[in-house]
């Protein structure tokens, strides 16, 4: 075992081996790039989390002076940007980077050097964003930066530029990754793996990639227009000259809404991988889950103006976008029921990864329900820009996407590092996250109903506001402890975790058909034949193989 390990690229940067830094900085191996994405995402998660804790500290009491109003607006802006673009995206696309070639039986991504470029662009863009603090020009305009607030004279030199440059540079990297993932799944599949047999996480990653590369151009256009207005004195958003600030919102949300599904779809992919394995059953209704993902992606490009119900578009437009937005609940519901049906009649193993899947199911459904609430136009007139909305998107993005990410980490950590994460620490991480999360964010539904708008650095002591804000802050503190335990688990397990073999969970898909960690070329031995969505399961349990049951 030890001799064989030395032949493989160490998955974790080990300072003991000579030239390790240069190896990592020049690597084009998708596994190493994937690891770099994951580490980067986790580091930014800690930073974004600290920002959140500061925000919650300031809001714990009425009239607090922990943060000055300008600093508060900067933290709120950068927290949102960080979590979406330097945590969610890198972690999910990092997982895709690591896993997609393995899952389809390929040696690497279609464009390995482009892959490396994507990563370094992502890192650089994050450093650029945080450099803005040192430059005294951190963005303070909210993560979606509405015009004309982003323009002169309302926002000073540098802030808007840092905002849009950091986003644009990271977008370039992600577009390249999106092209890479799609081209890889199209052209690098193992023999026998038709598109219909591609594992669900890889499939969702492709759909998310295409959704991103088609959704981000309107944002690039909108941001370029902001830059041109600021730098060349142009008039895109200048009402007096015939321009229109609302066009910014149309263009931005044409990107912004699909973006949340770019995050949600790979997360759904993780859930679709983990639940079946720990239920010892195939994913129920897999073709429907796959089709529902396409439905979600397609619909997500037709609903953007539900972020604009208060802008004055008129009842016809509002009705159209409201009804379209409600429709997204249907494919999402289909997935939730299929996941439940997967568990039904199964043999459930409650590993930490599975616990996070269960936590995801119980929590994300709330986010989905409040999503229907904001799709009901008159309800949105009360909810929009209030803490009810903040609760909604944290339920979907943290309670949904982040929990799925935690499940993925516990599930694939053994594959990536060859060691298990500690299950006992994992369970502490899970329960504290569940409790902390609901305390933090359920309280915010109440605050929204009590009339508290978002993005305010302080508030008068209206009835209920200080109490529920304090509850939310206490929840955030619990979440902080949970995250410390998580990081501790990773650090400890890297050194002392129980050794994991190639297939520690009795998995279904090809990434478990190689050693943990995999050799540089991914597969040293010939692949099992691919005759269904679960080639490894078929090879291990031929009497129960999927291809015996397939009608499609």
């Amino acid at each position: 075992m030890a001799t064989a390990e030395r032949e493989y690229i160490s998955p974790v940067p080990r300072a003991s081996s000579p030239g390790w830094l240069l190896t990592w900085m020049t690597t084009v191996d998708h596994k190493q790039i994937g690891i770099m994405y994951l580490i980067t995402g986790l580091v930014f998660f800690a930073i974004g989390g600290l920002e959140a804790l500061l925000i919650r500290l300031q809001l714990a009491t009425s009239g607090a002076t922990v943060l000055a109003p300008d600093v508060y607006n900067e933290l709120v802006t950068v927290h949102g940007m960080t979590m979406l673009f330097w945590v969610g995206m890198p972690i999910l696309f990092g997982f895709a980077n690591y896993l997609v070639p393995l899952m389809i039986g390929a040696h690497d991504m279609a464009f390995p050097r482009l892959n490396a470029m994507s990563y370094w662009l992502l890192l650089f863009s994050g450093l650029l964003l945080y450099f803005s603090f040192l430059a005294g020009a951190a963005p303070d305009i909210g993560w979606y930066g509405y015009a004309p607030l982003t323009l002169a004279p309302y926002t000073g030199a540098g802030r808007t530029e840092f905002w849009l440059l950091a986003l644009a540079v990271s977008a370039i990297g992600t577009i390249a990754t999106g092209v890479n993932i799609t081209a890889t799944v199209l052209t690098q599949r193992a023999p026998g793996m038709t598109l219909g047999r591609v594992p669900m996480f890889a499939w969702m990653s492709v759909i998310a990639s295409l959704l991103f590369i088609w959704a981000v151009p309107p944002f690039t256009a909108a941001a370029a227009m902001v830059y041109i207005d600021r730098t060349l004195g142009a008039h895109f958003y200048d009402a007096a000259a015939g321009g229109d600030p609302i066009i910014y919102q149309h263009l931005f949300w044409a990107f912004g809404h699909p973006e949340v599904y770019v995050l949600a779809l790979p997360a759904f992919g993780i859930i679709s991988e983990v639940i079946p394995v720990f239920s010892r059953k195939p994913l129920f209704g897999a073709p429907f889950v796959a089709a529902a993902s396409i439905g979600i992606a397609g619909l997500s490009m037709m609903v953007w103006a539900h972020h604009m119900f208060t802008v004055g578009l008129g009842p016809l437009a509002n009705t159209f976008f409201g009804v379209m937005s409600m429709l997204i609940a249907i494919p999402t519901g289909i997935k939730i029921f299929n996941w439940l049906a997967t568990m039904w009649g199964g043999a459930l193993r409650f590993t930490t990864a599975m616990l996070f899947c269960l936590g995801f199911l119980g929590t994300f459904v709330i986010g989905g329900i409040t999503g229907v609430h904001v799709a009901v136009v008159p309800m949105d007139w009360q909810i929009s820009d209030s803490y009810y909305l903040v609760a909604h998107f944290h339920y979907t993005l943290f309670g949904g996407v982040m929990m799925a990410i935690f499940a993925g980490v516990y599930y694939w950590f053994p594959k990536i590092t060859g060691r298990f994460l500690d299950e006992r620490l994992g369970k502490w991480h899970f329960w504290l996250t569940l409790i902390g999360f609901h305390l933090t964010f359920f309280s915010q539904h109440v605050l929204g109903m009590l009339g508290m708008p978002r993005r305010i650095y302080t508030y008068p002591p209206y009835a209920g506001w200080p109490e529920w804000n304090l509850a939310s802050t206490i929840g955030a503190a619990i979440l902080g402890v949970a995250m410390v335990i998580f990081v501790w688990n990773i650090l400890v397990s890297l050194r002392h975790g129980a050794v994991a073999g190639p297939d520690p969970w009795d998995g279904f898909t090809l990434e478990w058909a190689t050693s943990s960690p995999p050799p540089p070329e991914n597969f040293a031995a010939p692949l099992p034949p691919v005759r269904s969505r679960r080639p490894l399961w078929d090879a291990k349990y031929p009497e129960l193989a999927d291809w015996r049951a397939d009608h499609a």
Binding site: T187, P217, H235
Partner: protein
């Protein structure tokens, strides 16, 4: 369904990328159309645009699509010298387009038509400018291909890579057809 596993990855990659860039131009074109005629002051496109001039440089750019197709055909037959000549022609035509556009900008700026002047200036320079930027990137790719060709390494075997560059070039020309129609031909209505 094409057999994706036998497809040239470069072509697949550039093809996917082009769909993304297409959406980018659609967004800018929509903005131009929505803002057409809404400038509250300053000149209208009809008053300042020289349509015949723009038609000439359009012909140059479309000709470059023809020449690059010829280059691809030659390369497919492993006629490396022929391919390189048609490639040079493409680069010359593309450069002529850009220079022509730069010249047009010069004239317009001299007449005080700038992005800051009015909403038309804003949208005109943005749409044509981003297109020009894409032409420039394409020219750089073509020059790199020419460099590879001069070294004798542009072969029928590397055909897929060349086809990918050609696909991008055709896309840029296709976008110009739309941009030319929306900006210049519209003034004739």
């Amino acid at each position: 369904m094409p057999d994706w596993r036998r497809a040239d990855t470069n072509l697949v990659g550039v093809g996917i990328f082009i769909t993304s860039e297409a959406v980018f131009f659609i967004a800018l074109i929509i903005v131009y159309v929505v803002y057409h005629g809404r400038a509250t002051s300053g000149p209208s496109p009809r008053e300042v645009l020289d349509v015949p001039y723009a038609a000439v440089i359009t012909v140059l750019l479309l000709a470059s699509s023809f020449t690059i197709t010829r280059a691809g055909a030659r390369l497919g037959r492993d006629d490396r010298r022929g391919a390189l000549l048609w490639l040079f022609a493409t680069i010359a035509l593309g450069a002529a387009f850009l220079l022509g556009q730069g010249n047009e900008y010069r004239h317009l700026v001299a007449e005080n038509v700038t992005p800051a002047r009015n909403l038309f200036g804003t949208t005109f320079y943005t749409l044509t400018g981003f297109h020009g930027l894409h032409v420039l990137v394409g020219l750089v790719a073509l020059l790199i291909a020419a460099g590879v060709g001069v070294k004798g390494r542009l072969t029928a075997r590397g055909h897929g890579g060349f086809e990918a560059v050609a696909l991008y070039w055709h896309f840029v020309d296709g976008v110009w057809v739309v941009v030319f129609s929306v900006i210049y031909l519209w003034t004739l209505l």
